[in-house]
């Protein structure tokens, strides 16, 4: 049997060689750096029926909100039929679209993270939005009113800048995505405890260190700070120190530098003193530490602004909470130049043979991202924050924000903090390999926190080098 199989395999290999050799030698034919979608001069055709698909990750509670606004949009443009598709989780959406692209069956619009778009761009599949955004051509709605295809100056200014510029983080200066709904990291703290011991909420890392030391004195069995995401921590520190992390062009992986070694070493020292832990090191959600009311507790927790309800202790039988939770901006290197990470889904529009589909998709995306009411309702239903500043004009949302407290309305409190730091958001460069870099720096930080011994510098250096190697191999 062995001989036969080997013979069979040899045959296949030879056949392959012949076949493959016929393919010749050419380089990939992608063009980058120029606008790949131009609005036709005739503008939008509001007559011919057209169907566009929107792939997202919304569960049933969020799709209810979306469907209501789809209905409104379809009433404005009766020839457009919008279909929302639940594509599973974010990774599922990415994998589905990567597969669909091979047969040209990708949806019109999709939820995306920047690294997904970088992947789709290998096939040059995502439409650039620059020409759409600038288009002054008018379209007529069903009720006779008109709007321009592009964004007005007010609409542009209304976007929270850090969210909006994420669309241009692909290294060629072009706009590929629109922010849909966002989240960030915030510092949750046990307000009752802080007030009782006269502690002030840290705004810088130096202050945080001092507060941790004090908490350790008050409650030696505690872990003062729990940090959820090691990756976010590393990337945010690079941004705050303005030290290189990655670049979308040229040499991608720049994070192995002195400044980064420095802060890692400092955090290693904090870990050795028992000041903090992270989700991976702790072996469970760090929110479980701050919400704990017996045994080991933490008094500060840095986690997603969208997960505020997880950072609140379980209610007593009378509905009150054992302690009040406070929320603040995450600690900074320079309190006057704040930097906080921007997360959460954006949307991208795929190129199609029929330019009308692209325009219709754009009109829908524009509608969702600039509509105060949609942004407000979606934000309240999802726990994410809206991407436009004027959202407080929505009565419901203003009311929601006014109720903000560290108990029942903790989600509102979180949203309020996010809106107040609107000028601090940053995004990292996106390219094929940026998600690998993200994973690597998270693992790197985790590993470095636990290092001990005299040759710390050498260990840290080696770990950085290994992480860069791994990134380069996977890109």
């Amino acid at each position: 049997m062995l001989k036969r199989i080997v013979a069979m395999l040899l045959f296949v290999a030879m056949a392959m060689t012949v076949l493959a050799a016929c393919n010749g030698n050419t380089t990939p034919g992608t063009t980058k750096g120029e606008v790949n979608f131009k609005v036709p001069e005739t503008g939008f055709d509001a007559e011919t029926p057209i169907t566009i698909t929107f792939m997202n990750t919304m569960g049933s509670n969020l799709s209810t909100v979306l469907e209501a606004y789809i209905a409104e949009f379809e009433a404005m443009f009766p020839n457009i039929d919008v279909q929302s598709i639940n594509g599973g989780g974010y990774d599922d959406v990415r994998d589905t679209i990567v597969t669909e692209i091979t047969v040209g069956g990708q949806p019109n619009i999709a939820y995306c993270y920047p690294d997904h778009v970088a992947l789709y761009n290998l096939a040059d599949a995502v439409a650039t939005l620059d020409d759409l955004i600038e288009s002054q051509l008018t379209v007529t709605r069903a009720d006779g009113t008109t709007e321009i295809i592009g964004l007005t100056a007010e609409q542009k200014d209304n976007f929270i800048e850090g969210y909006y510029t994420e669309g241009t983080s692909f290294g060629d200066g072009l706009m590929y995505t629109m922010p849909f709904s966002k989240s960030t990291e915030v510092l949750y703290y046990n307000k009752t405890f802080f007030d009782a011991h006269n502690l002030s909420v840290p705004t810088t890392w130096d202050e945080l260190e001092a507060v941790c030391a004090k908490i350790k004195e008050i409650d030696p069995d505690s872990i003062p700070l729990g940090y959820d995401s090691e990756s976010n921590w590393f990337i945010t520190m690079c941004e705050q120190y303005n030290s290189p992390y990655t670049s979308a062009t040229g040499d991608h992986f720049l994070f192995d530098n002195e400044q980064n070694h420095e802060f890692i070493k400092r955090f290693n020292d904090w870990y050795a003193k028992g000041y903090l832990t992270t989700q991976t090191l702790y072996g469970a959600y760090t929110s479980g530490l701050i919400t704990s009311t017996n045994g080991v507790e933490s008094y500060m927790s840095i986690g997603s602004s969208a997960g505020a309800t997880y950072q609140r202790p379980a209610a007593n039988s009378d509905g009150s909470y054992p302690f009040e939770v406070g929320i603040a901006t995450v600690p900074q290197v320079d309190a006057n130049n704040k930097k906080v990470i921007s997360q959460g889904p954006s949307v991208c529009i795929f190129k199609k043979d029929n330019p009308q589909e692209v325009i219709a998709s754009w009109l829908f995306v524009k509608y969702l991202t600039t509509s105060v009411d949609f942004q407000a309702e979606f934000a309240m239903a999802s726990g994410y924050v809206p991407v436009i500043k004027s959202v407080a004009e929505n009565e419901g949302y203003a009311d929601f924000l006014s109720k903000a407290n560290g108990g029942n309305y903790i989600a509102a409190l979180s949203a309020k903090v996010c809106l107040e730091q609107a000028d601090a958001y940053y995004t990292s460069p996106a390219f094929n390999g940026s998600s690998a870099a993200r994973d690597q720096v998270g693992a790197l930080l985790t590993k470095c926190l636990t290092m001990t011994g005299d040759d710390l510098d050498a260990q840290i250096k080696a770990a950085f080098e290994a992480a860069v190697d791994e990134c380069e191999y996977n890109s």
């Binding site: 036969r4 990750t57 569960g59 639940n86 599973g88 989780g89 597969t99 072996g283 929110s287």
Partner: protein, 297 residues
């Protein structure tokens, strides 16, 4: 060995053996039970965990110190599971795909296993080895090619695409071949002399004799339909053809994109119940075996 034969043996043994042997017998018994019960507990634990998780609140589920019994029993998770996901539709779809793919797959498997076990043809060994070899490449690499194929066939968003591509399983052909080969050749030759056709022999003798294995294959195939996720999501993501796992995974994502696991577990428990009843029913056939038919040997 059946329980009955065992006990008969036991009685005879007891009559003629000394008390020392009797003690050993009992000790062996105790050991066997202890072993089985210990293993049963281990095997049962995840099932228990699934049930208690389905009754927890989301907060309790997220505790860093897992609880072994829900602090507050949330039967409402089950109600929520029922209302959030359109379980009925998902269930019907999955049944359609599960039953039809199991039946077709059984037929194909029986025919192929028979050819490999009983018929002589050139290249039999080579072909069988080649089939085994196909199992050695991770199936994830086939996804894109198969996706292109079914798209070209125009099969997207149909039941066909959920049933046909995975009808042939080399695993099952191999399993049934092993079983068929155990059936003594004399039976086949005798049938030949009597002028019985191959086909008749296959359905009248081999299939009944291999019933336990066929039932095992049925169970595995049905479970496959119940658990399939990635492929249905890619090729049939419209509501009309949604399968149970897809519906369940997607329905309970909460605000942060996290899954509401307790409700999801409740939903899983609900949809597993009918399947479990079917298994209990089929179990009888597996355990009844072929001993009573007395054809063998």
């Amino acid at each position: 060995m059946s329980a009955k034969a065992m006990s008969v043996m036991q009685e005879k043994d007891l009559q003629k053996t000394s008390s020392v042997q009797r003690v050993t017998q009992i000790a062996v018994r105790v050991l066997v039970y202890a072993f089985l019960i210990a293993m049963a507990i281990i095997v049962l634990f995840p099932f228990y965990w699934m049930i208690i998780s389905s009754l927890k609140t989301l907060d309790e589920y997220r505790l860093s110190q897992p609880t072994f019994f829900p602090q507050v029993i949330m039967f409402s998770n089950y109600a929520e599971a029922f209302t959030t996901a359109s379980l009925g539709r998902l269930f019907v779809n999955t049944m359609i795909v599960g039953v039809s793919s199991t039946l077709l797959s059984l037929i194909i498997t029986v025919l192929s296993a028979f050819a490999f076990a009983r018929l002589e043809f050139k290249g039999k060994e080579l072909l069988f080895s080649a089939l085994l070899a196909t199992m050695m490449i991770p199936g994830e690499l086939f996804t894109i090619t198969n996706f292109v194929t079914v798209t070209e066939f125009g099969w997207r968003n149909t039941y066909t695409v959920l049933i046909v591509p995975f009808l042939v399983s080399v695993f099952y052909i191999f399993l049934l071949r092993q079983n068929f080969m155990q059936i003594p050749n004399e039976l086949y030759l005798a049938a030949k002399v009597d002028g019985t056709t191959d086909f008749k022999y296959l359905w009248k003798v081999m299939v009944p004799l291999s019933l336990p294995t066929l039932i095992s294959i049925t169970i595995l195939k049905m479970m496959g339909a119940w658990n399939s996720y990635m492929w249905p999501k890619l090729v049939a993501n419209d509501a009309a053809h949604s399968m149970i796992t897809n519906g369940l995974r997607n329905a309970f994502t909460d605000t942060t994109g996290d899954v509401n696991y307790p409700v999801q577990m409740a939903a899983v428990a609900i949809v597993s119940a009918p399947l479990f009843l079917v298994f209990i029913f089929l179990r009888k056939y597996i355990m009844a075996g072929v001993s009573r038919s007395g054809i063998k040997g």
